[in-house]
């Protein structure tokens, strides 16, 4: 019923150099070794959870959505043909599941090109004072600034910087052309820079 993925024909994920490759694990799971899937969950839970958190904005929902994503990925594992990296395939599921979650929650999904969006975002953020930043570490500050962005911007930054996806792979995940991804990435970084200048000026100075 299931076809084994040939190691030579699949795109491997070089990020994980230790332990069995994703493809080896997937083949074991497809052969009925269900427990092997735990290894994939351990490997990608941070990436999936962080991406989900960019959309849901709270940990409880992010955990529920992440769980849903791993279950969906497990159920459709036989459909993974190895044409792309497993991570890229998984992030496609993350993207669709998170969009569905937002639709269900009837939250506003902001378009990148809609200027009004940022007016709304700015208003929402206006209650956020720099003094509320508990830890003045660089990492924490960047994470807080990313949280202030729209899910679209936060997702693209996370995919590029943390999930180590190329423009082509991000394009595959989001269903966009690589050039469009590049433009969106530039804009997302610019917006992040604006947020940091607006809300974390003092922190940036302290860190420098």
């Amino acid at each position: 019923m299931y076809c084994n993925l040939n190691q030579s024909t699949v795109v491997s994920d070089n990020r994980m150099s230790t332990g069995p490759s994703d493809i080896e694990i997937i083949n074991r799971v497809l052969k009925g070794e269900q427990q092997a899937y735990a290894e994939l969950v351990n490997r990608y839970q941070g990436y999936v959870f962080t991406l989900a958190l960019r959309f849901t904005k709270n940990r409880e929902d992010a955990e529920e959505v992440s769980q849903d994503i791993f279950i969906k990925a497990y159920r459709s594992l036989a459909d993974f043909r190895g044409a792309s990296k497993f991570s890229t395939w998984l992030y496609t599921i993350v993207n669709t599941t998170c969009i569905t979650f937002l639709r269900k929650k009837k939250l506003e999904v902001h378009s990148l090109d809609n200027e009004k969006v940022f007016e709304v975002a700015d208003t929402k953020d206006s209650g956020f004072s720099a003094n509320q930043v508990e830890q003045k570490s660089r990492i924490n500050m960047v994470n807080r600034a990313i949280e202030m962005l729209s899910p679209d911007d936060a997702e693209i930054l996370t995919l590029f910087y943390k999930a180590e996806q190329s423009l082509e792979e991000i394009g595959e995940v989001l269903g966009l052309e690589p050039n469009t991804v590049k433009v969106r990435l530039h804009r997302a970084r610019q917006r992040l820079k604006d947020k940091m200048e607006k809300y974390f000026t003092q922190e940036v100075k302290d860190l420098n």
């Binding site: 019923m1 076809c3 839970q45 992440s66």
Partner: protein
């Protein structure tokens, strides 16, 4: 604003490692000679490093266990290609293409091409068209009836969906 965007786009490309060798070397020269560009580059590089330093968030300790408990209830669904028969898809496609081509051939064969030349200078008086000749044809009537039935089925489906949504909201 556009100029500013162009500067930033070029700098981001340089930071990300995109662009040809020539473009990169041109930009390097520009960065050495132009203080504004150098300052902008420093700013963007700072954002770039900060983004690299951001950390992944981790779910609760029980997360993997929860997932594994959940998936124990499920089976892996068979690959889509195993239950979607491509021959059937191609068969359906071929059927419709044959049908369309058939209709086109039949339609064109019914056209009296010589008549078009003789009446090309005359206007058609729509009020004098005998519609009964068109709608008196049995095939046309059957076709119209089928369309009417399909339309009613579509309407019924639309209303059923509406009813379901209404019930859910209640």
């Amino acid at each position: 604003m556009n100029k500013q965007n162009t500067i930033e786009d070029r700098l981001w490309d340089y930071i990300d490692g995109y662009g040809s060798r020539e473009e990169r070397s041109d930009l390097e020269q520009l960065l050495e000679s132009n203080l504004d560009w150098k300052e902008k580059y420093r700013e963007l590089l700072e954002v770039h490093h900060m983004l690299h330093s951001s950390e992944l968030q981790e779910p609760s300790m029980r997360f993997t266990k929860n997932v594994m408990e959940e998936i124990a209830k499920y089976h892996i669904a068979p690959a889509t290609k195993t239950y979607i028969n491509k021959k059937i898809i191609w068969g359906i496609g071929l059927f419709f293409i044959t049908l369309i081509v058939g209709f086109l051939i039949y339609g064109f064969s019914q056209v009296d091409w010589s008549a078009a030349n003789s009446t090309s200078n005359q206007y058609i008086d729509l009020s004098k068209v005998d519609y009964s000749k068109i709608f008196n044809n049995t095939y046309v009537n059957v076709f119209m009836m089928l369309n009417a039935v399909l339309g009613l089925m579509l309407l019924d489906r639309y209303l059923a969906d509406k009813r379901k949504t209404f019930k859910k909201e209640m």
